[in-house]
Symmetry: C2
Subunit: 151 residues, 2 copies
Amino acid sequence: MQSKKDIATLCKENGLRLTGPRRVIMKVLSEATDHPDVVELHRRVNAIDRGIALATVYRTVNLLQEKGVLERHTFADGRARYEPAHQEHHDHLIDVETGDVIEFRSDEIERLQEEIARKHGFAIVSHKLEIYVKPLKAKVQLRGNRPPAKP
Amino acid sequence: MQSKKDIATLCKENGLRLTGPRRVIMKVLSEATDHPDVVELHRRVNAIDRGIALATVYRTVNLLQEKGVLERHTFADGRARYEPAHQEHHDHLIDVETGDVIEFRSDEIERLQEEIARKHGFAIVSHKLEIYVKPLKAKVQLRGNRPPAKP
DNA sequence: ATACTTGCAAATGCTTTGCACGTCA
DNA sequence: TGACGTGCAAAGCATTTGCAAGTAT
């Protein structure tokens, strides 16, 4: 909830002009709790200001990613998805049934990766771990597809 | 080197007709030691038979992936890359300087992933771990860019 | 024979870009 | 005002698809 306040600062820090479209786009980004793709971002942005072009969202999101403000992910569907850059690295659990993304972190896995890279004569630049999952004990809860309730 | 022999079998097993293009494409695939993208595959295929269309490579590669014969990977560059499906799951180390891909496997990491998924109430469907790396002790060996040898 | 394959070209979906017009600093 | 930002439409890429002609079984 420290969203709107930081936007001006963020722009200044990165030598970006504070414009209307950017204000809106960054507001939407800072309020997102999921990992929206660009078209979804554009949808949300347009709900606030109809006049902002898809191209502008692309440009802004690319800028912010270059500046390290956003993180770009590309899961199995191919589209780029964004989230505010975290301080701490984390990985993702992706529910293949709903598309939901859950973040997690395992220091032990991080450590093992370091070890593996070193063993091969490399230093880690970055990495990503995506675990595609489905709920245990297959829930009957299939999105508005419930069988009629028994009287 | 059990390459060509299996191709007829592979097709039969999967209900695919054994055609010229498929023979060539599967030969190229079975001989690849790297993780080529479709355009690169097409280049190699065309070195053998000029007449095979890119669309056919795409179609074949998709078929084989659906049948579980190939694995599709999508690394940071966005293009799909393929390799013959291994029996044992493995992950990838990607050299960001050369694009080289090195395979590795860590049972410990596999186990930790299981644990994490279970802890969140999920079962793993699949996963991928990509570690982007660069060589330790920056080698001067920069691809045909060597300084003149000292006499 | 006939269902499956192919080549070609056109279409797609996501993303980037050229350009002329607006606008923040 | 001058460099930066924006909307729009067109261009790019990687990949897919419709269709008519070719081919394996």
